[in-house]
Each structure stands twice: as structure tokens, then as C-alpha cells.
Symmetry: C2
Subunit: 186 residues, 2 copies
């Protein structure tokens, strides 16, 4: 941020407003306080029979690695709808949301991931430009050496195991800097 | 947003960037795309024996109603730490996070709530200026007619019931415009 988005002034200062607990960017001209908010990434593990659908990333970061469909929650959108929209955009598949499966922080990226389990309904359009391939994987064919992030690997390993029992846990925790910690309360 | 925070220009236009699926605010001068992100509210239900701690709001909105400690997730902070910090700031209590209890959207406010169950550890400081009182309530004394929002009432009713069984569910859904819908998968 170089200019105040409220008054256009370049007189921006870091300071702690009165009654606030954190340092903010404050405009020296109009006193507007500018907050920086973490972002929310919504996505889903798409299931059909004993398979899950993954996308090969066509773009950076992590180009040419496999991942689940996921992306930024849009303004005015619910987290469930965002997960469905990302599935449609990145795989071309309509899905139905089953339940929440992972809520984790990636602190160094200032992101919170909200991931659902989803059921494949039907292919309704071509995959979008963010994917260069979409493929179904069983637990035996999952591309563990070619996944986008350690947190995705950990989640898919857990999903493979739990699928056999039909009893799914909820993961909550932190995946910052490759470290995967957290609770599995169920 | 009146001015581009990148170059200071007032030539801001609404348009859909190429390869994008949504309309954005784009600078006509430097072509910077400005995204609007929903915000994350973290909080917790503080438990001790058969009681929960609530705060009486000293500020608007919903001044003079009872609520759980909750507030905006800060940049670089995890959702668990945010819930602990809000508990400390608004009640003066140090707490330990137990597990995720509710993840819900308030779409018309562009907010996602992430609420934990937490265990009281000790009182370590005075309550902050956002609260005018902090009090422990049993299920029989909960101030249901004086709670801040319908979603808080629904959550505390569920918590009271589940507490007797010791078996807690996870709520995920939508609390927009007073409507409480969603899944209780556990």
C-alpha cells in the first residue's frame, strides 16, 4: 500500500490506534485506519466410489503438481458455495458438499484453508485454464511424490485411510512452513 | 475505495479482468486489480465445570447484549491463537483451546466465523474496554433474551444440550439474515 485508498494521500504511517491492540497503517491526512485481513481458501476433496479427483496445476505456484480444487473465497459467497465453484472451475465437475474435513492455518501466507468432502454429481463443463489435466485416483495410484503441498499430502493420506472405515475425522491446525500440527477430535 | 492504493490514481473502474470469473475494481492508470476479501471472526465458548463465560458488550453493534468473546483474525495469526487472544482481551481469562465447534458464514456481512470450545485456565488481567461485564452462566441462567445474535443463541442452546451428553457436534453452515441452516455431521 503506497497511497491511502480513502483520500489518495501518500502520508501513510505505521502506528497503534488508541484502544487498538495492534499496529496498523494509518493515513496522516484523513486518519483512515487500513486493516490487513488474512484470506480464506475454500476447496474440496471430490469423491466417487473409491476414487478422488485431482487437478494438475497449469499455473504457478506449484505448476505441474497435483492438487485438490481450491481457491479464494469471494466477497458475498459462502464457504460451501466457494468450494463447489472451485470444483466446477478447476475440474468441470458439479459436486455436492458432504461435510467439513479440514480447517487449517497457513500462517506465513496469511491464509486459512476450509476444505470439505464432496460427492461427484456430473461433469458439466470443460476444466478451466488453471488446470492442465484432471484425473481420478484410487489410494493405490495417488501421486504422493507430485502433490502441491505437504498439507495436501497429509490430508489425502488421512482421507485414504479413513475412507476404508467410512468414519471421517475433522482436522484443525496449522500447516505453516511444512509443519503439520493439530487436532483430530472425532 | 476512492483511490488506487498502488499508484494513487482516482481512475478506478469495475471490470472483469481477462481469465477472471468475477468483476473487480481495477485501476485505469496502473492496471492494479483490487480484491475484496471476506473477513474471519474467531472466538470461543469458555467452559468451566457446568458454566460458560459471556461478555456484556460495551460497544456497538449490539451494545448491552451478552455474547461470547470473538473478533477479527489478525494478519499472521492462527485461528486458535486469535480465539485465545480475544478471550483474554474481552474477559481477562487465559484459556486452552479444546476443539472446533462451529464454522459458519454470515454472508451479508462478508464474514466467516470460526468458533472453538475452550477451557478456562485462569484470570490473568482485567476485561478489556469492549466489555462492560463478564459473568459465568449455567444452562439455567443463560440470558437467551439478551444475546447478541440469533446464531449465538442457537450455538449456546446446542452447547447446553450437548454438554450433558459430553458428546459435541460440529456445526457448519450459514447464519445470514437470522436464518440458521447447516449440517451437524457428528
Amino acid at each position: 500500500m503506497n497511497y491511502c485508498s480513502h483520500c489518495g494521500s501518500s502520508q501513510l504511517h505505521k502506528k497503534q490506534p488508541k484502544e487498538d491492540t495492534h499496529t496498523r497503517i494509518v493515513c496522516g491526512q484523513c486518519a483512515q485506519v487500513h486493516y490487513r485481513n488474512p484470506t480464506i481458501i475454500c476447496g474440496c476433496i471430490i469423491e466417487q466410489d473409491d476414487k478422488v479427483a485431482l487437478c494438475l496445476r497449469a499455473i504457478e505456484p506449484q505448476k505441474n503438481t497435483w492438487t485438490i480444487p481450491a481457491g479464494y473465497l469471494e466477497f458475498g459467497e459462502s464457504t460451501e458455495l466457494a468450494a463447489q465453484r472451485e470444483a466446477l472451475e478447476e475440474t468441470g465437475m458439479a459436486v455436492e458438499i458432504c461435510e467439513l474435513y479440514s480447517v487449517f492455518n497457513v500462517q506465513h501466507m496469511h491464509q486459512v484453508y476450509i476444505i470439505y468432502r464432496a460427492q461427484f454429481v456430473q461433469k458439466t463443463q470443460e476444466m478451466g485454464s488453471e488446470s492442465s489435466a484432471v484425473k481420478w485416483f484410487t489410494e493405490h495410484t495417488l501421486p504422493f511424490e507430485q502433490l502441491s503441498y505437504p498439507a495436501i499430502k497429509t490430508m489425502l493420506l488421512r482421507h485414504s485411510k479413513e475412507r476404508k472405515t467410512g468414519c471421517f475425522s475433522l482436522y484443525q491446525g496449522d500447516a505453516s512452513a511444512g509443519r503439520i500440527t493439530g487436532l483430530h477430535p472425532n
